[in-house]
């Protein structure tokens, strides 16, 4: 039999159309409280992206990868978790999901301004640190999910990765093991069209990356990644399956990176402006705004107020963090070993002038 293009042809599942109309019965997917907190995070995330760039340009912040355009994929999925028992395993572009889990904004900023202490996710916060090595977090997520289950816990793990990372061997090895162990893990593949300057067309010939699930023995689903409701619905069902012991799910969220790859990238070298314009019509935040406006839950004034509120939050956090002490040489040695070798102790003494 030919399994040539299985799962590749279908259109991404959509519940909330670009014009803001919601499919019948889809309202239950997110109750108003969850919906409004998701909206709030969307607004926050856009504001934070902008702030991070301006701070970086002023030399006050290190490298940062904006969420811009992928808010529905990141927020819609993580809103399906119970931070009290579930885990988020990020790549590096999923700050909103980490905050939702309880990662403190001040810690996040502390890390971005250069204090490694900010990379401690905090007591009881179920998030792993950013992962710079692409797809390397996927085996971790599988082992974590397996380990929780082995200990009789009912937590599930949501791991994020991009369509670029999906080409790495680690992605395949992790998904295959997850299938064998029926680990409670959800693989959230954000296909944002780009790996830095590499378009998805040069990344893979697959019509849909969701189709990879069939090759490792669990369901894969293709959703409109700019649709908060569709992403949330798919993730919620995957969380249910995982918690019920039915194993992993792969979700391909088709989205689009609307900004540069990160603060050091210049997308004008490789992104066609017309294409970018076309994509703006599908902006995930606009879509939710249209829906909420139609529902009368949001208007220009309330958004204005919300925007002011999140800006104030960011102001306060930035002020706190920039007030804090700059990291010193201890940041080179702290936490490397629990029981450091003598040589490392001597190196530390020498470096701190106690040598």
């Amino acid at each position: 039999m030919i399994a040539g293009t299985a799962g590749g042809v279908a259109e991404p599942r959509q519940l909330l159309s670009p014009d803001g109309t919601l499919a019948d019965g889809a309202a239950e997917v997110l109750d108003d409280e969850a919906l409004l907190s998701a909206w709030r995070m969307m607004v926050f995330s856009r504001a934070f992206d902008e702030r991070a760039f301006s701070l970086q340009r002023q030399g006050r912040l290190g490298t940062f990868s904006p969420v811009n355009g992928e808010e529905a994929a990141v927020i819609g999925s993580s809103w399906a978790l119970d931070p009290g028992r579930d885990w988020v395993v990020p790549q590096y572009r999923e700050l909103p999901a980490m905050l939702r889990q309880g990662y403190d904004l001040r810690r996040a900023l502390r890390y971005f301004v250069g204090d490694p202490a900010g990379n401690d996710m905090g007591e009881g916060v179920r998030v792993l640190p950013y992962q710079i090595s692409l797809a390397a977090q996927m085996p971790h997520a599988v082992g974590l999910a397996w380990g929780l289950r082995h200990q009789g816990l009912d937590g599930v793990v949501l791991v994020f990765f991009g369509e670029g990372a999906s080409s790495e061997g680690d992605a395949h090895e992790a998904m295959n093991l997850a299938g064998v162990r029926r680990a409670p893990v959800i693989f959230l593949l954000k296909n944002n069209g780009w790996a830095i300057s590499t378009p998805v067309s040069k990344q893979t010939a697959a019509a849909s990356l969701a189709a990879r699930a069939s090759g490792v023995g669990f369901p894969g689903e293709l959703v409109d990644g700019n649709d908060l409701f569709a992403v949330h619905d798919a993730t919620a069902r995957a969380v249910e399956r995982a918690r019920a012991g039915e194993g992993p799910t792969l979700i391909e969220a088709r989205t689009y990176r609307m900004g540069p790859h990160n603060t050091s990238d210049d997308p004008t070298r490789y992104v066609d402006p017309a294409e970018l314009e076309r994509r703006r019509e599908f902006d995930p935040v606009d879509r939710v705004r249209r829906y909420l406006t139609a529902r009368g839950l949001v208007d220009a004034a309330s958004e204005e107020a919300l925007r002011a509120q999140v800006e104030a939050e960011i102001d306060a956090a930035v002020a706190d963090v920039e007030g804090g002490p700059a990291p010193g040489v201890n940041a080179v040695f702290d936490h490397v070993y629990a029981n450091p070798p003598r040589r490392v102790i001597e190196q530390r003494a020498a470096a701190t002038g106690e040598g």
Binding site: V89, P116, A117, N119, D120, M121, G122, L128, P129, S133, A136, M138, P139, H140, A141, V142, G143, L144, A145, W146, G147, L148, H150, Q151, G169, D170, E173, A174, N176, L177, V180, D334, H335, V336, Y337, A338, N339, P341, R342, R343
Partner: protein, 327 residues
């Protein structure tokens, strides 16, 4: 005390620890029903169950990488690389993840992993199975590298490595699995990491070695004795932590030193030992420190491996040369 060979000592160490601490999980290729291709885990799945002794898919990066996540969940995984040579498939997970997760997470994510990996030559394995890659891992900051040469140390250091909160690469000499036999206490004991062992006393020259090369060094030292050369043999036992004090004392006491290892010469850990000795004991040195290692060529076909792996004869020649060296 019972006389065990190395693979028996390791097996009993794994069994004792698994009985003591149910957080311990074994992950590897063919370690279950088959008991490992060298029987290091023979009987353990029967005893501790399929959930704790797990036959993994054929994928080293995820065998190691899933252990990272397991550790994060509060378990104590002991992944096995069927051969150290195939650790290269997991190199990014070992040097980039296992070794750094504690640092990256500011101590939040525990990493008590022990990666077991057999290696070493003269057992007629196919290509890539015998490679001695220890120096490559000793250069991965955050990791510890342990290389026992006796059954007693194998068990004692395995227990220590498992209880040590830091990640450890635990390298086991294939050749020693059955050939190395010595007395292993029945009572519970551990051997600290970072303490070298004087395997033989002597004061003309110190021969520094680790893992199976220690046996070769001891034989060479015995023959040297017949020529009236008093060669001390120092078994490093762990490369990280490195016992710089004992290296200094031994070099200072003997004034001459030779390092022996199975890995290729260039960029082998012998270079680190030489550099450390001359840093610590330069003024006591009466001759250049010698190195006996494999040549800078890939591990060859089994039929000629005896010409490649440092032999007793080559080590003896090295001893003579170092002892005889004069301006």
């Amino acid at each position: 005390m019972a006389v065990l060979n190395m693979v028996e000592a390791i097996r009993s160490g794994l069994a004792d620890e698994m009985a003591r601490d149910e957080r311990i999980m074994l992950l590897g290729q063919d370690i279950g029903v088959n008991g490992g291709v060298f029987r290091a885990t023979d009987g353990l799945q029967e005893r501790f169950g399929e959930e704790r002794v797990v036959d993994m898919p054929l994928a080293e990066a995820v065998i190691v990488g899933s252990a990272v996540g397991m550790a994060c969940s509060g378990l104590v995984p002991i992944p096995e690389l069927q051969f150290l040579g195939f650790g290269s498939q997991a190199f990014h997970q070992i040097e980039g993840q296992v070794a750094r997760m504690r640092f990256r997470s500011q101590g939040r994510v525990p990493m008590p992993i022990v990666i077991r990996a057999p290696f070493g030559g003269n057992v007629r394995t196919p290509e890539l199975h015998s490679d001695a890659h220890e120096a490559k891992y000793a250069g991965a900051a955050g990791l510890k590298v342990v290389m026992p040469a006796t059954a007693r140390d194998a068990k004692g250091m395995l227990l220590e490595a498992i209880r040590d909160p830091d990640p450890v690469l635990f390298c086991e000499p294939l050749r020693g699995y059955r050939l190395i036999k010595d007395e292993v206490p029945e009572y519970e004991y551990t051997v600290p990491l970072g303490t070298a062992r004087t395997a033989r006393d002597g004061d003309d020259v110190v021969v520094v070695a680790w893992s199976a090369a220690v046996v070769v060094a001891e034989r060479a030292a015995a023959q040297a004795a017949e020529e009236g050369i008093s060669a001390r043999v120092l078994d490093l036992r762990s490369l990280v932590p490195l016992d710089t004090e004992t290296l200094r004392e031994a070099a200072a006491a003997c004034g001459r030193a030779l390092v022996v290892h199975e890995a290729t010469l260039t960029s082998g850990f012998g270079a680190e030992v030489v550099a450390t000795i001359q840093e610590e004991a330069f003024w006591s040195l009466e001759a250049p420190i010698g190195r006996i290692a494999a040549p800078d060529t890939p591990y060859p076909i089994a039929s000629v491996e005896k010409l490649y792996v440092p032999s007793v004869e080559r080590v003896l020649a090295g001893i003579r040369q170092v002892v005889g060296a004069a301006p």
